[in-house]
């Protein structure tokens, strides 16, 4: 096998406050023609910096300080600017993380796809346009002939990502660099995109470098894995060896964090007759001007039913746009409900924050996804935690400081942090302070909105452990909003699955993961890549689901929202009447026309993974 890429002692520096800091240190690896290598690591590991260096490019504030990058016998770093421009997009192509941001919003897609190849003289405009259409067809894009005439905002995120692949492949590059190409996608979309990427790479026998933080995704795509940490290579080996016999301790910790946290926790079931802490009935909410019936112009939540007992944790799971955050906003009082009742501790909870009592205010606390923006960077940790103490309990001076220290203990932070500002804390520490601020109010209920999504896997897992411990110690109830099945599974007793504003399934966490389930739940659970090679191959059907044909129908807004994607839809039933709630033998309640038997998977259930190959429920991010 011929060697196509050889990186030797690559060093990249970033300009810091005092002089330069090395962010990539002496990285060397090589890759044969037709192989796929993955660069894996957490944020700050230098994986994207290395990937960009392969194009002879360093971001603003960074500089390639030394080393050699040989591609097909040429040292990319020795090329002058003009030649480098010729190489980029022609011999080395790049697929960016967020296609939504990487496409120019004001230019037609086809023009952007062929632009680079046209400038580099790969072919005439007509030839390239023809080739682009072929690629669109290859990448399973709808309407390949005309999709290029659209603008980026007119196609979906998954389609944009595939269009970007077409843009990279149109010049038949020697080397393709994929930088977290599926991280910004929903899990069910991710499977489709991964499938098409894998096929495209295999068919062209392309050589690729795949950057990702997600081991399960990498296991499907790569022949070799390079594990990075702090700008250095920790381990470089064939994929199967890394997955089964990792040599390095750091690699093993990554693998550990990627695996689900054992079995779902056995929950001490509270007596059912205990009065619910929070109960939601027939909730409808949305945005925009209310019509004559008081219903909002754009309805986000449709008929939500939920009961949360003291000390219980309920997970709300769904893709972007499913309405899960809107639900949290309604409970928090940031968005009044259009219909339905929200009761807290037996009393009706007013829709407007201003009408809620201080006590209701205190007992429900909200923790946001991004601690960076939720914490005022000008205040010290002591001030941040002291303010709610003063507001709710009138604590000042010594008593306040005492309580702040207690709070720091509760979230397992050292007392020395009390005088620091958020800027001097790590991502995980910030999220702990964010949590401590909610705990300061001694709440009954904490609304957690994607609290681990912005964190690295290892750090996120530690926060989940903390949440579980706090719940045991303090008897807190959680409404835990997430798109990540594995964290919901680790923390929650019950799960609500949302799809486009409908509550499609509600039940215990263990019942959710096993069939029979709502077709969407089934698709969602099965779309999460598993941490073993070959999973993608076995689940080819997920990417190209055959949908039963439907007669023309009128959607009056009552029909099942999953109808246009459902592989088990029934003509004449699903497209004519609204689905009703149905209780399954597992205790789960679904919103679907199908009976239990029909809900079982079309294909035989895959063999349960063995202990060495645990399932990984990681949606993305």
């Amino acid at each position: 096998m011929t060697e196509l890429l050889h990186v030797k002692n690559l060093r990249v520096n970033a300009r810091g406050g005092a002089g330069e800091i090395e962010i990539v240190r002496n990285v060397s690896f090589s890759l044969g023609k037709g192989e796929v290598l993955a660069l894996i690591g957490e944020s700050g590991s230098g994986k994207t910096t290395i990937a960009l260096s392969l194009l002879g490019y360093a971001r603003h504030g960074c500089r390639i300080a030394g080393g050699e990058i040989w591609v097909d016998g040429t040292d990319v770093l020795s090329l002058d600017d003009k030649t480098l421009q010729q190489w980029r997009g022609h011999r080395i192509a790049y697929i960016a993380q967020s296609a939504a941001a990487a496409f120019n919003p004001s230019k037609r897609l086809l023009d952007q796809v062929i632009e680079s190849a046209l400038l580099h003289g790969v072919g005439s405009r007509a030839e390239l346009e023809r080739k682009a259409v072929e690629l669109f067809r290859d990448l399973a894009l709808p309407n390949p002939e005309t999709i290029g005439q659209r603008y980026p905002h007119q196609v979906s995120g998954g389609q944009l990502q595939r269009l970007m692949a077409a843009m990279a492949l149109i010049a038949d590059p020697l080397l393709v660099i994929l930088d977290e190409p599926t991280t910004a996608l929903d899990v069910t979309t991710q499977v489709e995109v991964l499938q098409t990427f894998r096929d495209a790479v295999k068919r062209r026998n392309a050589t690729a470098v795949y950057v990702s933080h997600d081991l399960a995704v990498v296991a499907q795509m790569a022949d070799h894995i390079v594990v990075l940490n702090g700008g250095e290579i920790r381990e470089h080996n064939r994929t199967e060896r890394i997955l089964h016999h990792a040599d390095d301790a750091y690699t093993r910790s990554l693998l550990g964090a990627a695996r689900p946290h054992g079995k779902p926790k056995a929950v001490t079931r509270l007596p059912a007759e205990a009065e619910p802490l929070l109960s939601i009935k027939g909730l409808i909410a949305g945005y925009g001007k209310p019509d004559s019936l008081g219903l909002p112009a754009s309805r986000i939540l449709e008929d939500i039913e939920l009961e949360l007992r003291p000390g219980q944790a309920i997970g709300i799971i769904g893709e972007s746009g499913s309405g899960k955050s809107t639900l949290a906003r309604v409970v928090a009082g940031l968005l009044p409900a259009a219909r339905g009742k929200v009761r807290f501790r037996g009393e009706e909870l007013p829709g407007q924050l201003s009408q809620r009592s201080a006590e209701q205010f205190r007992r429900i606390q909200l923790v946001f996804q991004n601690a960076d923006t939720a914490l005022n960077p000008m205040h010290t940790v002591g001030t941040l935690l002291g303010r709610p103490l003063k507001a709710y309990f009138g604590l000042t001076g010594k008593a306040q400081r005492q309580r702040v220290l207690e709070l720091l203990d509760q979230v397992r932070l050292p007392h020395t942090l009390i005088d620091r500002k958020p800027g001097a804390l790590s991502g995980g520490q910030k999220q702990r302070v964010n949590l401590a601020r909610a705990l300061a109010a001694k709440p009954d209920l904490i609304l957690c909105d994607e609290v681990t999504s912005a964190l690295d896997t290892v750090v996120g897992a530690a926060i989940l452990d903390l949440l579980a411990e706090l719940r045991r110690e303090l008897g807190l109830a959680y409404l835990f909003i997430s798109h990540d099945i594995s964290s919901v599974r680790a923390l929650c007793d019950d799960v609500v699955v949302m799809y486009q504003g409908h509550q499609v399934q509600t039940g215990s966490t263990s019942a959710l993961l096993e069939p029979p389930a709502h077709p969407y739940t089934d698709l969602l659970v099965r779309s999460v890549p598993e941490l073993r090679q070959g999973w993608l191959e076995e689940n080819r059907d997920l990417a190209r689901l055959e949908l039963p044909a439907l007669d023309d129908y009128q959607d009056n807004g009552e029909l099942c929202t999953f109808l246009d994607r459902c592989p088990k839809r029934i003509n004449g039933l699903c497209n004519s009447t609204a689905p009703g709630r149905k209780t399954l033998s597992s205790g789960s309640v679904t919103l679907c026309h199908l009976d239990e038997e029909a809900m079982l998977p079309l294909l035989p259930v895959l063999a349960q993974p063995s202990a060495q190959e645990p399932r990984l429920y990681k949606v993305n991010g």
Partner: protein, 318 residues
């Protein structure tokens, strides 16, 4: 053009008309509150109260404010802007001559300044952080800081008095040949350009730099495109909105804000007409000038908004 765009533009237009209506009320209210009125001004300070009262009666100044407003507003709609009290001639007639002059000066200044500003702004953005950028940045900042009367006076001193290339005074009526046109307009246009080019160039640079920092600009670089192409083909179309607004803002200054230039070059424009009107308590003239400035401003902003809408495919194609 889709109905959606027409709807968007129609809404902007309606908003502009509404703004103008509100402005007319505000102008009328303010001029009504001002101490002294035309009657007092015409008769001078030695007039007896009886004389003033009589004149007020004659001019209709004693009627209730709402009646006077409706009267004035009705006239406005039918093109009758009232009678200038101090000049004893219709306001329309007074404006007619001056408006042409002001528009001419504004037009010539725009034609010169906008391309120069765009060129400077885009060049600075492309060579961001480089020596050229720093020079341009310092230069434009210095120009913004220098007051225009100083620029105008220096220009007169150098080009009119010392070099005798152009005339120090600009009588628009002198223009009979292209050469005379240049002699008349060069100095005032140059002075005005100094002021507005700097502002527009800085705003253009900021708008383009903002786009050059985006992910798609980085992607374009990684596709192997050159700096010039990235700036002109990728960044610029997305910067049309903010640039158009910056230009509209600067050009609106050419209507009402050029008093100093008009005074120094003795150029008969609307701005100096309005200043005179204020000193003379010539209320009808003040009201007419203010309405004119506001309309001009709203028109420019409307044009900027429309070009921003047309340049954005998200709004254009729906």
């Amino acid at each position: 053009m889709s109905t959606h765009i027409l709807w968007l533009i129609g809404r902007r237009l309606a908003a502009a008309v509404l703004t103008l209506l509100i402005v007319s009320v505000v102008i009328f209210a303010i001029t009504a509150i001002l101490p002294g009125d035309s009657a007092q001004q015409i008769l001078g300070q030695f007039a007896t109260p009886e004389q003033i009262e009589a004149l007020r009666q004659q001019l209709g100044l004693n009627q209730p404010a709402i009646v006077r407003y409706l009267d004035w507003f009705g006239g406005l709609l039918s093109g009758n802007l009232g009678e200038s009290m101090t000049n004893n001639m219709p306001v329309t007639e007074l404006l007619q001559g001056r408006l042409g002059n002001t528009l001419m000066l504004a037009l010539v200044t725009s034609v010169v300044s906008v391309p120069v500003a765009l060129l400077l702004g885009i060049t600075a953005a492309i060579y961001r952080g480089g020596r050229l950028d720093k020079c341009l940045s310092t230069l434009t900042l210095a120009l913004v800081a220098v007051p225009e009367f100083l620029v105008a006076t220096l220009a007169v001193l150098i080009f009119a008095v010392k070099l005798r290339w152009f005339s120090a005074l600009s009588y628009a009526s002198d223009v009979t040949s292209p050469l005379a046109f240049i002699r008349t307009y060069t100095l005032p246009v140059m002075t005005l350009c100094f002021v507005i080019v700097a502002q527009m160039a800085r705003m253009t640079r900021a708008a383009v730099v903002d786009q050059l920092d985006s992910s798609y600009a980085e992607m374009a670089r990684l596709k192997g495109l050159g700096n010039l192409r990235i700036a002109l083909v990728h960044a610029l179309p997305n910067a049309v909105g903010p640039i158009a607004n910056a230009i509209a803002l600067s050009l609106s200054y050419l209507f009402g804000g050029v008093v100093i230039v008009e005074t120094i070059f003795n150029y008969p424009g609307i701005a100096s007409l309005m200043v005179d009107a204020v000193t003379n308590r010539d209320i009808a003239l003040v009201q007419a000038c203010t309405m004119l400035f506001c309309s001009g401003y709203l028109l420019l902003v409307l044009i900027a908004d429309v070009s921003a809408i047309l340049s954005n495919p998200r709004l254009r194609t729906r």
